[in-house]
């Protein structure tokens, strides 16, 4: 069950997202994360999703996605060299000098930014691969996490080539 990041250029139209998500639920494919926003071309949205499956299942997912009329183009980023990033906002309890120092130190190690500070909490911003964000959550003391908001994975291919309309 390999993890795949599939990036999709699709018509920026009402209902396009539900066609993609509906396809996954109707055919029993899983979605680990999903993120969508318009691109530099206003008529196009880019949707990136993370899914897991055998080679056969991923092949079917890609074929079925390509069949959707709103899908213009797609690519399985994990097939080649690619960059993957996800953004996380995480709020943790931070009371007492030692605890506050520890959170700050860890945030620095993970190259996070502290966005909001109160007497009892820190809110940080971290970006990285999903794996890195998981590791940060893992590194937090048990019971100290108050809130986690992750964007889901976005990604592009390395180098000049990419998911564009005309290539």
């Amino acid at each position: 069950m390999m993890r795949h990041i599939i990036s999709i250029l699709m018509e920026n139209e009402a209902g396009a997202l539900s066609r993609v998500s509906g396809l996954f639920s109707a055919r029993g494919y899983n979605i680990e994360s999903l993120t969508v926003a318009p691109t530099e071309t206003p008529s196009l949205s880019r949707l990136t999703l993370v899914t897991r499956g055998s080679d056969e299942i991923i092949e079917q997912i890609i074929k079925q996605l390509n069949k959707l009329i709103d899908v213009v183009k797609l690519s399985d980023l994990t097939e080649g060299a690619h960059i993957e990033r996800e953004l996380m906002l995480i709020k943790v309890k931070a009371v007492g000098g030692d605890a506050r120092d520890e959170v700050k130190r860890l945030s620095e190690i993970f190259r996070g930014h502290i966005l909001d500070v109160t007497k009892t909490s820190y809110t940080m911003e971290l970006t990285g691969t999903a794996e890195k964000l998981d590791a940060f959550i893992e590194a937090m003391q048990d019971g100290t996490i108050l809130e986690v908001a992750r964007t889901g994975v976005s990604g592009v291919m390395r180098g000049e080539k990419g998911l564009q309309l005309n290539n």
Partner: protein
Amino acid sequence: MELSGAEIFIRCLKEEKVEYLFGYPGGAVLNLYDALEQQEDIKHILVRHEQAATHAADGYARATGKPGVVLVTSGPGATNAVTGIATAYMDSIPMVVFTGQVFTSLIGNDAFQEVDSIGITRPCVKHNFMVKDVKDLAETIKKAFYIATTGRPGPVVIDIPKDITADKALFDYPENISIRSYNPVVKGHAGQIKRAVEMILNSRRPIIYSGGGVVLDGASAELTEFVQTLNFPITSTMMGLGAYPATDKQFLGMLGMHGTYEANMAMHECDLLIAIGARFDDRVTGKIEKFCPTAKIIHIDIDPASISKNVKVDVPIVGSVGNVLKEMFKLLSVIERTPDEQALSDWWDKIEGWRKVECLKFDTCAKKIKPQAVVQTLYDVTKGSAYVTTDVGQHQMWAAQFYKFDKPHRWITSGGLGTMGFGLPAAMGAQLAHPDETVAVVTGEGSIQMCIQELSTCLQYGLPIKIVNLNNGFLGMVRQWQEFFYEKRYAMSYMESLPDFVKLAESYGHVGIRIDKPEDVKSAMEEAMKLKDRLVFLDFHTDPTENVYPMIPAGAGLNEMLLV
């Protein structure tokens, strides 16, 4: 000059040369109906239930190859149409369905007769649209017909809010349309075709497995030429019947769960399987692990997602089947080689041996009417040239087994979804498309009652359909499974309180005939055919214990058939 949305709708249908519109009026589509009333080119067929509108349009599409067109109102009009839309979707039938919608300003307010038609139909359409501006209406309709009829065909829904039908815009129907995200591949990959031809030449025990895609692509001539030149055996899915002449000696009959012994055995023992416009449905393959264990597989299909979905294939070829067959044929004719003749001759000997089993034989001297005999008589009396629609169950299988279709588009059945209630309305569509041809519905007393109200539509439009009701008082296929696999516990498979179908037909203004004895089957059928301008309901009381054979039980391979 600016036209109203309703007028634009009419103009678009005229541009698409729509002959019949199957529908039912209601609040949200009153403007459309008002515009329809003021023209004569498009004939509206008023059904008695929206499900029948979609099935009738579907039957029309299957009988002609042209898209079926439907108009229903919002809310329950749309939900009633869903079964027919899903039926068309599963069998890849081109169809454009217009659903009315509440005023744009009311959408999302739980307004009267509001339903999220786009959301409800999304998983069972090729695509759907909601028109939110009258200026987009014409282009949307153009796109809908284009999408429905190209590539792998399918139903497209257009949801039109009521205000859009009153709003005005200039009418401009685009001559051509291109959709950047939709470019079906028609031409097969030359390298793949070459590989396939090489495999064909090296095969020793080949078989062709053709499906509904051949009918949909109008590629019967190409298929027949290809098969006959190679002298290969051919079997067909239920959906593909008629694409290759069933009376030809190379045809082994239908394959799959109720397929013939020779077809299924040849599938099991072949060394090359050439799948053409078929999709390896579970009713065809049986247990996947046991499917064609010694075969290399070539698969030609217009839909890449159908390839290697259920069964991994060796040479996939994406393209229209007609086009690919032509290319393969061309290549075969320039290559000097042919497949090993001795091997092919041995293969045919083996197949002839399987044929001798006569898997479709039934008791022809029985005291009760055998349903198989009724279908066989229908075949004889209509000389094999009728348009035959069916419902779903035992009668459907017997019709597939015993009515030998030599031409495409004459066999009209709900294969993928298996929709009871399909037969009668589908026959209406076929009869409207071919007013001078015989259209017969092979059905059962369970199925026919699911859209029985359409007898009224048939009277209104004078449709002289012949209904062949195989009345055994049971939901036969359910009963058969219960007999085989549920220790004869016949839960709810017995149809009590059946109506008197003769009186029922008469009350709708038609002719009804009840037949109880085997010796009366033929004369009743002939009498029905003589009544050229009347609908005749033939109520055959058949042997309730009869089962459909051969049968492949769930989990078994194609070579593990139950025979009589």
